[in-house]
Subunit: 418 residues, 2 copies
Amino acid sequence: MKDLSFDIAKRLPEGPGKHGRSGIIHTPHGDIATPAFIPVATKATVKTLTPEQIRATGAQAILSNAYHLYLQPGHDIVDEAGGVAKFENWHGPTYTDSGGFQVMSLGVGFKKVIAMDLADLTEKDIRAAKRERMAKVDEEGVDFRSIIDGSKHRFTPEKSMQIQHGLGADIMFAFDELTTLIDSRTYQEESVARTHRWAQRCLEEHDRLTRERYHRPKQSLWGVVQGAQYEDLRRQATRGLLDLDRAAREKGRRGFGGFGIGGALEKQNLGTIVGWVCDELPDDKPRHLLGISEPDDIFTAVEAGADTFDCVAPTRLARRGGVYTLDGRLNLTNARFKRDFKGIDEEFGGYVTENYSRAYLHHLLKAKEFLAGTLCTIHNVEFMVRLVDNIRAAINGGYYEDYRDEFLGRYYAASKAR
Amino acid sequence: MKDLSFDIAKRLPEGPGKHGRSGIIHTPHGDIATPAFIPVATKATVKTLTPEQIRATGAQAILSNAYHLYLQPGHDIVDEAGGVAKFENWHGPTYTDSGGFQVMSLGVGFKKVIAMDLADLTEKDIRAAKRERMAKVDEEGVDFRSIIDGSKHRFTPEKSMQIQHGLGADIMFAFDELTTLIDSRTYQEESVARTHRWAQRCLEEHDRLTRERYHRPKQSLWGVVQGAQYEDLRRQATRGLLDLDRAAREKGRRGFGGFGIGGALEKQNLGTIVGWVCDELPDDKPRHLLGISEPDDIFTAVEAGADTFDCVAPTRLARRGGVYTLDGRLNLTNARFKRDFKGIDEEFGGYVTENYSRAYLHHLLKAKEFLAGTLCTIHNVEFMVRLVDNIRAAINGGYYEDYRDEFLGRYYAASKAR
């Protein structure tokens, strides 16, 4: 079975911080045409959907969480089942993240800090966030408590690799430290250096496991770039990963098959930060931007050079009745939809619009029927997948800027007008 | 559009209380080959399933509840949507029940009384049941409180017809009084007489509404036989409905298109009671047994002469991880399924068994993932539908008794052995 590889199809105009392109990631379980939106299957299920329903949205690959599957049901069980794709009956490419984000973000106060704009935080918020942090980082790894039962656990770079090899996804990520917007510059420097050393340990453990385990297709390890909002740290982190990759290959070992771009980002810096990283990265490896899904962020990140995207927002929002339309988001629990017999978005179309009315979805949401979550999730995933598919088609067709301006102009104008 | 009609295909050996047969119910939205299991779509959704998933189980028709849809979203909204089938995107025959069962059963203590065996009830249970009864019956109708918000409502036979015409199902039921096992013989007599008068009012209101409303296919009203465990009352109730039907037709009005058999029944009397009713009923009209789904009950009822069955048990059970197999029921939340990589029932097969392991379903249930309910529901509905399909094939093929003995022998032997 061949290693993962990447071909570029077409490029947007290039320049500093501008590296947009379309392409194809070839994985052992199929191709991913990029740019692509990758739905999140946290616990080996895109919440509420069967694999057939996921496939019908147009999704090409799905991403599961090492953290969640380690805690429940245990990566050993997923391994015995034949890996996460077989376990969840997904016949296509899979990603797993490293657990780095989750072990450090799933404390309540901490979550708030990474989600909010820095300027909105009070001193009290910051103190609460630091107090409630559930994870403790040292040079070797991270101690954390389970969100399920509060039990104590420890992740190290090696442990993350072992878990992700058990899960057996086509694409996996190096174990990194997630910092926050409230950490000091000094701490960010220390953290980037530590994440670099962890990436080295991930490469070594991945190489060892790949040689020892021959029963699963070759997995591709992607390095993760941190460095918060600092240009020098982001560039240094990226070059550091490339050094590690080169050194590994010189020893005849496996290097990085691609790169992830992580960290808590303020929305207004997103494009700039992704641009710094992509200035440094080579052209021939795919780049995944972790945890982003607002339409404008996706356009920004594509232009800067990101190829794939995942985010729980479209599915999480859907279960509460929030749905995307070409004219911005609607909340179907709103009473004004009680007698609205149109589909969600007649112009966008799609399975849910073509088969169900807003009034029916409103009824299901009010009655707390499971099917509400399923149908709204199908719609939102289809919306996001097709949005990114359209971006790809626009790059390939040479009309990217027109598509972007038309889409965003309408999406946000309508949101503001509402 | 043609009225509902019924053709008999083949009969089991006949005798007193034995009127088993296979056949086809022709409805404006398609045929139902009988015997048939009809999944329940309480609030215009078979909980957790899309219409495509319902169809894939082999289900031919679904049954919704007038009570629930009256309260939420309101039958007027379903009416505006074009009727319940269009509202829920179901392209096939539909049933609605009258609300009679729900208005009188959805008080907590009362529910217990109709669900339990009479012998298990203490005096305290009975007092609690009477106190907690949420409905008050008089000659004109029933006052009850909403299970959603406790608000006061009133159903009459006319109101039930108006609601069911708004819902627009192919098959609807006359509004009846549900009695309980603890009611006195005198009360049962009064109740049967009242249900008879209500059936007459239903026929008249149905006739009026059918003449006034020409925008929906002709709906078929089925009379409901009550009479509890008393042979004379059951036979009298049945003959009474036939008298009403005859009188209506003599006046050139619409009569009953079929019959429902209702009431709280003790399991051991089920076949006997259905047999009394079917002794009286004509051959050429279909018979629906309301709310029955245990496999042995279905065989018993088919032999006595029932054609179709509905029950919430397969779907309700599924959402808690209870699944049917040829060797009895399993509860997939049990820890012994944690590493069980077989399908639910390799011999039975079906979509869920062929695509997912017990270990995966156990994981989804433990993680409280929505997909657990969806997959277990698909399995149970497919199991019940196919069981009744197999009964039909066995009647048509002349091997009914062999099939019954083999199925039940294995199903219950294994349940006991476990």
